[in-house]
């Protein structure tokens, strides 16, 4: 029982980590808490649902939906934030503009598609399950494990091993200096939005598979997890987000299993507040806080 909960928790946490990675990357490089981020999650899930209904297999629908969500992210970033970046507007302006944007997007999507919960076609992923001792792992869960591992590895390889990643890290460190060194910061910003959007979109598809419930507002509920993970992991900290995401998944599953499933959000929020009181730079953070 405990082992089963642990496995379920780690798999859920892997998706949380994936989702929060894009969020924290966006903040780390672009210095913006982009509240439209949850919308990419919804967009990815809905795109995959649409493609699956057209008969696309999951190995096609998942990457295409992720890429589609990445494109949505680039467009939204361009519409909402380029102007504010150019005039170096205060952070509250970018928070508010993405907040207004995301309300408009969610409500437009809801009035177009309706608020109902949609289900993926039942034969999208084989219903097989594997047994390792007492632990039961479904094919969907294996897919989640494989896809998140692949995406996280690809992201780390890009950030650590390529000139593009070096440019992005330079921009996170000091945008002005990066620009002086000849980095096209506008293009790098678009690329970061695209990568983040892909990660959120893939997260949406995987959560959609895990719970088999897709609706326009699903990204908004996910944002709470995103906030918890990026604050506990430390804003902008990729490694912190990975660990905090896994931990949050396990804690949620344990709370649902042993306390009450209605309280898992409350527990997540308590963790957020406790970390803000005691270690506001995140559990793994060494970074100097930009104090107000």
């Amino acid at each position: 029982m405990l082992a089963q909960q642990l496995v379920n928790g780690v798999l859920l946490g892997a998706v949380y980590a994936l989702f929060a990675l894009g969020f924290t990357l966006m903040f780390g490089v672009l210095r913006v808490i982009n509240l439209t981020y949850g919308f990419y999650f919804s967009a990815g899930a809905l795109l995959a649902l649409w493609m699956a209904r057209q008969g696309a297999p999951i190995w096609l629908a998942l990457p295409l939906a992720a890429l589609g969500a990445g494109c949505v992210a680039v467009v939204l970033d361009w519409v909402l934030l380029t102007r504010l970046r150019r005039i170096q507007a205060p952070e509250l302006s970018s928070l508010m503009v993405t907040l207004g944007g995301v309300l408009a997007l969610y409500s437009a999507l809801t009035s177009w598609l309706g608020p109902d919960i949609r289900r993926l076609p039942p034969d999208l992923v084989a219903a097989d399950a594997f047994h390792i001792g007492e632990v039961r792992v479904t094919a969907a869960q294996l897919l989640i494990l494989g896809a998140t591992t692949l995406l996280v590895a690809a992201l780390l390889a890009l950030m650590r091993g390529t000139r593009l990643g070096l440019a992005i890290r330079a921009m996170a460190e000091k945008p002005d200096a990066a620009q002086l060194m000849g980095i096209d910061t506008g293009r790098a910003a678009a690329l970061v939005s695209f990568i983040s959007g892909c990660l959120a979109g893939a997260g949406g598809v995987l959560i959609g598979l895990n719970f088999n419930a897709i609706h326009p507002y699903m990204g908004e509920a996910m944002m709470l997890r995103g906030f918890v993970v990026i604050i506990v992991g430390g804003l902008g900290d990729i490694r912190g987000a990975l660990l905090a995401g896994l931990a949050l998944g396990v804690i949620e599953v344990m709370t649902a299993g042993y306390v009450s499933s209605g309280l898992k959000e409350a527990v997540a929020f308590l963790i957020l507040v406790a970390v803000l009181w005691t270690r506001p730079s995140g559990l793994f953070g060494r970074a100097v806080l930009r104090r107000a």
Binding site: V97, V102, L103, S107, S111, L224, V228, V273, L276
Partner: protein
Amino acid sequence: MPPWLDDLLWTYQNLVYALGVNGLLALSMYVVLAVGQLSLGQAAFMGLGAYSSALMTLKLKLPFLAVLPLSVVVPVAFALVIGVPTLRLAGVYLAIATIGLGEVLRAVYLNVDLFGGALGLSGIPERATAWMIYGLLGLAMLALWLIGRSGIGRAMEAMREDETAAQVMGVPVQRYKMGALLASAMLAGLAGCLSAHVSSFIGPNEYGFEPAVTILSYVLLGGIGTPLAPVVGAWVLTLLPELLRGFSDIRLVLNGVIIVFAVLFLPNGLLAVRMKRIGARTAA
């Protein structure tokens, strides 16, 4: 009161209440924005005020004159727990924590029996009146106007423009930020108590993400030049869906778009009452 006016008020009773309550909510957002912070907790604070006051009336049978002032207690407590750690940090922390608060409370209302689950609480006696709502709204506007005119008002404006500079000039920045957040929680809590006691029913979905952003759109439409502007913003956005048929479907889309446009193109609000001062900061 002439009979036609009586009829009119009776017909549009709910709208009359909504205008007053939304005016209070706009002020509650205005107080925080006026010191340069963004809190998305107004709807959550309102919900806390509504649920706590409804429970005081229904379970403890307290008289409304006691319930109304007590309705600020729970929102203020939550504002302290969230405000103390976040107000020391950069502004995004307060925004994040308050958005999270709204999402969490919704889940708690839905899942804890005391709060009635998805059905919410019903049968709340209608003890508030339009006089109380508008009396409080008037008082709050007067108080905020007096504060805005005083030295504290200047200090708040200085903080909004440049917090570091204000701090260097000796403005007690932390104290004012905390004071603003607590005042905001009180106003929202009172609004929640009043709205619960005129509508007889409250539910978990009334205090979530959509109302939180809608309250922000009131203030951004009006601007934060004077306490009157946000109230006018709230009234315009509350009246529009009533006046234009078919408008209510896209109400939320419009609220979102207003925020985007206001931030990008009209930083002083559509109804900027006060002229921008000479020498005010241009884009840095």
